[in-house]
């Protein structure tokens, strides 16, 4: 009994430290992924970078999540398809925003999405946070004639997508085991970018360096975007190879 209680007290401490480390490293890899991707903007443009990024991310997620697509039911497919659409729009709007207003500003504005989700969950004392965040946005955007409102709008669209992504990911996580749902969504959004990417790459012939940058962006951010909660799902639901 004593050992039971001790183990339940120690476990959260270690898992919290590991969680923080995972969060910091995934955030770092996600942002460096975006920065490396931005290096290829001059050659293939933000849409080209996002296309290659989605292909790589789709392949990585398929390999990690190994979704059994044939066994998905209609109830599992619709949130997966919605997640794929949100995933696709989120990245193209974020990368287009990075191109126009810079990485720091774009990511900060995109961050208002998860902030809104957290505020909706906090219920009480949320008003203070809303005021703080709104002040931050006003300071960042400093409305003036020279402001790039399209860039700001794209970053806010990415924020909306990220909030939707979090909510949909919860639904997908409940309906499909482990990482299978997120993996399937990543693969579908990669498929969506096949025609778009081919068109862009034909119009703007890529250099090997640009392709490598975009692929590195996909690799770095797909390892982080499959959020920590999903890794926790994966840890508590090891992908069953034997059960059918």
């Amino acid at each position: 009994m004593d050992t039971d209680i001790r183990s339940t007290r120690e476990a959260p401490t270690t898992s919290r430290a590991a969680g923080i480390a995972l969060m910091l490293s995934s955030s770092l890899s996600s942002q460096s992924g975006a920065a490396v991707g931005a290096l290829a903007f001059d050659v293939i443009g933000p849409v080209g970078v996002v296309a290659v990024r989605q292909w790589v991310a789709g392949a990585v997620l398929l390999a990690i999540g190994r979704p059994r697509l044939r066994s998905f039911t209609r109830r599992q497919w619709w949130p997966v398809l919605a997640l794929a659409a949100v995933f696709a729009i989120m990245n193209v709007s974020l990368y287009a925003a990075i191109d126009r207003i810079g990485l720091g500003l774009a990511v900060t504005l995109e961050f208002l999405g998860p902030l809104a989700v957290a505020l909706a969950g906090a219920r009480r004392h949320a008003l203070g946070c809303v005021v703080l965040a709104a002040a931050g946005v006003v300071v960042l955007t400093r409305p003036q004639p020279s402001s790039d409102y399209i860039g700001i709008g794209l970053a806010l669209l990415a924020a909306l997508c990220w909030a939707t992504y979090i909510l949909l990911n919860r639904t997908v996580g409940r309906r499909a085991p482990g990482l299978e749902g997120s993996a399937a969504a990543g693969a579908v959004s990669g498929l969506v970018y096949v025609p778009i990417g081919i068109a862009v790459l034909v119009a703007h012939p890529p250099t090997p360096g640009a392709l490598a940058c975009a692929a590195a962006a996909g690799l770095l951010s797909s390892l982080s975007r499959s959020s920590p909660t999903c890794w926790r799902c994966a840890a508590s639901h090891p992908t069953s190879s034997g059960s059918s």
Binding site: M1, S30, G136
Partner: protein, 144 residues
């Protein structure tokens, strides 16, 4: 996650040569602060709700101390014991019957523990600080 904008601004400055005005850093700081506070408030609200559900709405003055120690209120011995030492009945999922393997558990959060007529969701045990893997381990037949 809260620090993402700071990382982004730093990496943008180093890798992409973006320069940010002091006001930009102030704005980033404000958004990051708002997010940290919101995440803290949300997790506290979840924890409190879990506590209320687990205690059947009866929260005493020892609530704060109990939460700090990651145990359920002493006044409810059934719940208290089930938090430290999960009962056998936890292994009965409310759908799908007895799982044979960990991977057969449809969704750990949907498992319920019955103790003294009270129902505890595993989700609530996790919110109270119990480790998922510990719960899953205990769900194995023949486990402790």
């Amino acid at each position: 996650m809260s620090v993402s904008p700071v990382f982004a601004a730093g990496i943008g400055a180093v890798v992409l040569g973006e320069t940010l005005a002091p006001l930009d850093w102030l704005g980033i700081g404000l958004v990051v602060t708002a997010n940290s506070v919101a995440v803290f408030l949300a997790s506290r609200a979840r924890r409190r709700a879990a506590f209320r559900r687990a205690a059947g709405g009866r929260i005493g003055s020892d609530e704060r101390a109990a939460r700090r120690n990651k145990v359920l209120p002493q006044r409810d011995p059934g719940i208290h014991r089930s938090a430290g030492h999960l009962p056998e009945r936890l292994c009965g999922a409310h759908r799908g019957g007895m799982p044979r393997r960990r991977s057969d558990v449809p969704d750990l959060d949907d498992l319920v523990a019955y103790r003294g007529g009270l129902v505890v969701l595993v989700r609530d045990l996790v919110d109270l600080g119990m480790h998922r893997d510990t719960i899953a381990y205990r769900c194995r037949p023949g486990g402790p």
